[in-house]
Amino acid sequence: MARDALVQEARELLAAMENALLEIEAEGASPDAINAIFRAAHTIKGSAGLFAFDRIVGFTHIVESVLDRVRNGTQPLDEPLMALLLECSDYIAALVDAIEARREDIEPDPERRARLEDALNALLGAGAAPKAPVAVATAAPEAAGQVEVEGGESVSSDNWHLSLRFSPDVLRHGMDPMSFLRYLGTLGRIVHIVTLPDAMPPAEEFDAESCYLGFEIDFASEVDRQTIEGVFEFVREDSDIRILPPHGKVAEYISLIGALPEPAGRLGEILVKGGALTQAELEQVLAHQAAEPVPAKPIGTLLVEREVVPQAVVAAALTKQKQGEEKRAQEQKFIKVEVNKLDALIDLVGELVIAGAATNLLARKQKDPQFEEVSQALSTLVEQIRDAALTLRMVPIGEVFQRFPRVVRDISRELGKEIQLVVTGADTELDKSMVEKLSDPLMHIVRNAMDHGIESTAARVDAGKPAGGTLRLNAYHESGSIVIEVSDDGKGLDRERILKKGIERGLVQPDQVLSDSEVFRLIFEAGFSTAETVTNLSGRGVGMDVVRKNIEALRGEVEILSRAGQGTTVRIRLPLTLAIIDGFQVMVGESTFVIPLELVVECIDVGGHDTRHNIVKLRGEPLPFVRLRELFDLPPATGVRESLVVVQYGQHRAGVVVDRLMGEFQAVIKPLGLLFNQVRGISGSTILGDGRVALILDVPNLVQRASRAQAALAWQGQATSMPEQTGGNS
């Protein structure tokens, strides 16, 4: 495992740990969540141990010890401990960062570490006094009652019998057999326990780090087999753990005694003493054994037998095992690939698409049917390769969302507000390259919503709202875009105040009539802030303009919906990919433009339509449109039969009038670069089959312009009776 893989794994585990902690905070402790935390800390420690990253091993070890006490119920998981654990996970993250930066020899913050370790050690010291174990969970005891005993006589004991032979390496793996027994103790009552020191070597060969002990345990409990097996989950792989149910078959005891390394007579004694077997039953077992001697079997057969036994005994255990296998199989379906390699692949696919287009063009010119056929087949393949390559980069947006539960928790505490986070659509996929760039803008919007959107508890109660505010993160796909929404149920934006401020700052004329969304859009202007108090979090007037810039740099768009008293939604719309799209090629005069095909609804012939005021009636509905020739100030043409391409972006439709429709093709998006950052109406460029550069139209911008022109017209229409022809730049 490379160092990078370790870092990545550790980060994923830390995220899981944080999620589990937050889940506990929200919904109370559950054994699953506690186990998840323990497992995360444990695995991080184990992996770091492989590389001898001692700083992280040492620290996680203490965390793990505390977690172990939580798991076995001797340490309550209260609020201060939750906070401490969260802070510990932060510190582990800092240690992981140090590993990534190859500075693992330097302690990131020795003071903080000392403080955290003191706090943890204090708990370990205080918790040492034995406490009455608290039952963490009592899973439905159905399985225990329904043990199917198949063949052979059953023994009379009401108790489970557990034979544990821990792997010699168990201590080196950072596990203490005692902790498993303590945890087991929380699930029921240990009736009888015998420690078997038989594996202990002579003193001179004794290795202090090896575990030589085995245990025979009789255990009274109502829990099912799955739960008991779960106790030993972390050691199951290399230790020998055998669990016999109450009223187990005689035959099982026979195979148990046969399989264990200790002499049969001695084991028999233990079983009788513990009450697992009566003397008579033992004699029966031993008689069987004598008749059919079981020599020391190779470990392989033992394992097979162990697999066979539960199959016959408990169906539930089988299901559990199967689930485990499925999970493992699923894990194997992933391989980790360096992002650079993927990017290089996508670049190459881009070149392939361009070269393919050139070949196609040539084939059509040559008018050689065979050549055309071959190049067509090639194009189809290229298209498939392109799609496959692009999906490689798609990741669920959950990757971005997962950091927010913690953020919301921390900020709501800082602000003294009660805020609940609801995340939906975390499976929605988007391009990996966008994930990284989306994180900061989203963070800003979320902070803003919590700080300014959601009111204080008192104000909410006064307004008759629930005391706790709700913040929603949602994502979904819509016509070739991914939409991400951050909504709060707070007080909404203050339209009047924003407008006033906009007028003060000269962004709006006092007599200008603006729609709500136009007013709200003002908050994206640089230095625009209406916050009354400048808090630590936001309101300093930097931010929303940066958010807009970041989103626009991703060829996306931000929109604000708000209702006074009911809340605000910030809606971000982004293209699905930044690399290659299906394009629709159009021409105006000699210039070629490309429209992303996903945004094209239909094409109609303009001739014969009434096109006054740049509005055309389409099936009874007015559709605003723009003429590219006018918009881009291209040389006028005569005698062309114009076509209108209907495009849709979000909820809005508009028409784009062009001279000629050229058809679909695959377009590799080439950004126009720094020089053209402020150009509107064009979002990028692409290279055509003949090597020329074509410009990609910025459909969102065109739609917005068309609608704005329509709105202005409607308003003018109210003011004066009928305006003159608009839309020309004559």
Binding site: V626, D633, P671, L672, V679, G681, I682, S685, I687
Partner: protein
């Protein structure tokens, strides 16, 4: 490519201090001879058509495809406040590599013709005149003394200042956009 840029930092001052000879490409623009240091020049290509971008200021003639990269082309003559360069048989595009905000940026410069590469001794370069030149003084790195005549050596970083160009383009796009509505 990128290491070729290193020696040019500091422009004229570096030139004077280093005391080593330096190479310049000379080219004609509107009948006048200019020079620019070769360090930032990546290649010179023959003019072979380009794609115009609507609503751009006059100095931005369009973009070309250079082996898959889309490169903007600047008309130096317009940048110097003269008539736009007419495309003719010898018209060339000089591809220049600039570093901007940590990224390498390629820009094409449209010229009437390229002439030769000169090796210039430090003594041959004189400081720019305070006045009298027909282009903005800050664009001039120095005057190269060639026997009987002076050739203006351009400070290409200032001539092609990305910030300034982007601002001009943004302004043109804004006015164009309002005009279009």
């Amino acid at each position: 490519m990128s290491n070729a840029n290193l020696p040019t930092q500091g422009g004229a001052t570096a030139l004077a201090e280093r005391g080593a000879s330096r190479q310049y490409l000379t080219f004609t623009l509107g009948g006048e001879l200019f020079a620019m240091p070769i360090e930032q020049i990546r290649e010179i290509i023959e003019f072979g058509g380009m794609t115009e971008i609507p609503l751009m200021p006059g100095f931005l003639r369009g973009v070309i495809n250079m082996r898959g990269a889309v490169v903007p082309v600047i008309d130096l003559a317009v940048r110097f406040g003269r008539e736009r360069t007419e495309i003719a048989r010898r018209t060339c595009i000089v591809i220049i590599e600039l570093e901007q905000e940590g990224q390498m940026l390629l820009l094409g410069v449209l010229v009437d013709a390229v002439n030769e590469v000169l090796t210039v001794e430090p003594g041959q370069v004189e400081p720019r005149p305070a006045f009298g030149a027909r282009i903005r003084a800050e664009f001039i790195e120095g005057m190269i003394n060639l026997d009987q005549r002076f050739v203006i050596a351009l400070d290409i970083r200032l001539v092609l200042s990305v910030d300034e160009l982007a601002t001009l383009i943004g302004m043109a796009a804004e006015t164009g956009a309002t005009a279009g509505e």
